[in-house]
Symmetry: C2
Subunit: 299 residues, 2 copies
């Protein structure tokens, strides 16, 4: 029977959405403006790819239950905070995100800045709650916090965003584009794969395979994003398209051309799948299917 990725993702998306709902204060909680803004951004149609990758990586390493869910939730909160801050006028200045007004257009800039700060902070709160925080040994728990913080900081996501902002309307070469993609999007995605493995207490070679898969799939995801910005349909993607071009942003299609970018995308996904070849095939079905999904995704 062929693997049904849609059902697999739907089920896990539901786990993640429920966990997000449990950890976010209700919109009515004082001060309500900030909690409304946080919920608006978190429940604004995210695909939950990152948390699903954590759950699928844990499964690939032999842990098929919901043990990784708190960390999956935390990484979705961090991803959401990064979008809220990226959309700010001083950053990418985007009025729409996932087909709805961006957080600052809806709630004002001050609340959007604070909502992003609060989402990032909440991520660390979520993983430190019982019983999750007490289930791994202490070394593993500290390792998890460290992986999250390093992937989100200047060695990772914030570093990528910094170079992205500073490169707008600049002449940059392929190495700068690679740096931006590997850090701005790639670092968090790669960390998701590693975190799944760490939670599942993967042996070093399994963790290495997941890391390798994560690095390649993270870059592939961003190349697909660049391609969609050129040829996607605005309604389906749900954000202002052609904005990369308008903002003078460097992208794969601009640098390599559309055809070459598509070949690069396919090559990366094939290599990512190859990285999983030493793991039991039954356990890696979801990750392999997600690779194919990234090549074909329309939003």
């Amino acid at each position: 029977m062929p693997f049904d990725l849609a059902s697999y993702m739907d089920e896990r998306r539901k786990w993640v959405d429920e966990a997000l709902d449990r950890c976010l204060p209700p919109s009515s909680a004082h001060p309500s403006a900030i909690h409304e803004a946080m919920r608006y951004s978190v429940f604004g149609g995210g695909k939950r790819l990152r948390p699903i990758l954590i759950l699928a990586a844990a499964e690939a390493a032999g842990c098929g239950d919901r043990r990784a869910l708190p960390v999956a939730t935390a990484m979705e909160l961090i991803h959401t905070y990064s979008l809220v801050h990226d959309d700010l006028p001083a950053m990418d200045d985007s009025d729409y995100r996932r087909g709805q007004l961006s957080c600052h257009k809806k709630f004002g800039e001050a609340i959007a800045i604070l909502a992003g700060d609060a989402l990032l902070t909440l991520a660390f709160s979520v993983v430190s709650l019982e019983p999750f925080a007490h289930s791994p040994d202490d070394r593993r728990f500290a390792w998890i916090i460290r992986e999250i913080a390093q992937a989100a900081g200047t060695e990772g996501m914030v570093g990528g965003q910094t170079v992205d902002i500073l490169s707008q309307n600049q002449e940059v070469d392929a190495s700068v584009l690679l740096y931006i993609h590997e850090h701005k999007t790639g670092a968090l995605i790669q960390a998701c794969l590693r975190l799944g493995g760490i939670i599942a207490e993967a042996d070093p070679s399994t963790l290495e395979a997941l890391t390798d898969y994560g690095k390649k799939i993270g870059l592939a995801f961003q190349i697909r994003d660049d391609i969609l910005d050129v040829e996607g349909e605005e309604k389906q993607v749900g954000k202002d398209l052609g904005r990369d071009e308008a903002k003078g942003k460097i992208t794969y299609p601009r640098l390599l051309g559309l055809d070459h970018s598509k070949r690069e995308l396919r090559r990366l996904v094939e290599e990512a799948t190859q990285a999983l070849s030493s793991l039991p095939e039954g356990r890696t079905q979801p990750l392999r299917a997600i690779g194919e999904h990234i090549i074909q995704r329309r939003n």
Copy 2:
């Protein structure tokens, strides 16, 4: 021999500054703009009151060494991030901080937003590094992460900042003012006292005494801040004075008058000192002296 608070604080300030220098990437590290902005904000003349409170609280609970230094460092990073974001045009719109240009005036808004994000993220990275993360038992380590995240989030600092922003130029009463002060500044200061106790493995009654001291000293600190905004000298305080008034911000002197505010300040510090009475007197000298210092501080 009377206790020499100045020497005590100078010595610990040096510990903290060295630890901050060790944990922050060098300004030259790629991408340098973000690391320069982080270092500029962290080394822009902070008094290090919060980390010193953590160290003094740990000492009051029987731990006089540098064991609490990683958490002290983390809390100073969080305090600094909150100032960088508070100063942004969409928030308090302050051009100066501690007598120098605020981060966004010096590096631009985008880099200031990212530097704040990175400082908050780095705080969690710092506490999760070895050997600190492995010295307490795992439950205690998770507890520390939870205390930090809850004090900095919407139940604490970000909640206070949200109400502060929403209250500008609004008619508000004493209960709103108290909420802002107890959350915007108070929550983080109270957490510093608790964290010192938790790291020192304080018994429940000691932890309660530190919590009580922290709650009162945190509010006292903010009332002193309000008073300084009215009567301090700009050069000594190092930021734009009278700004609270200009921004239509509610403050203690505006609500209660200057004399009443000063009486309230003294009462709180006396109560804070009283809260420590069950602890061995020798160990609480620094905390008691810091209380007096808060009443008299000029910047």
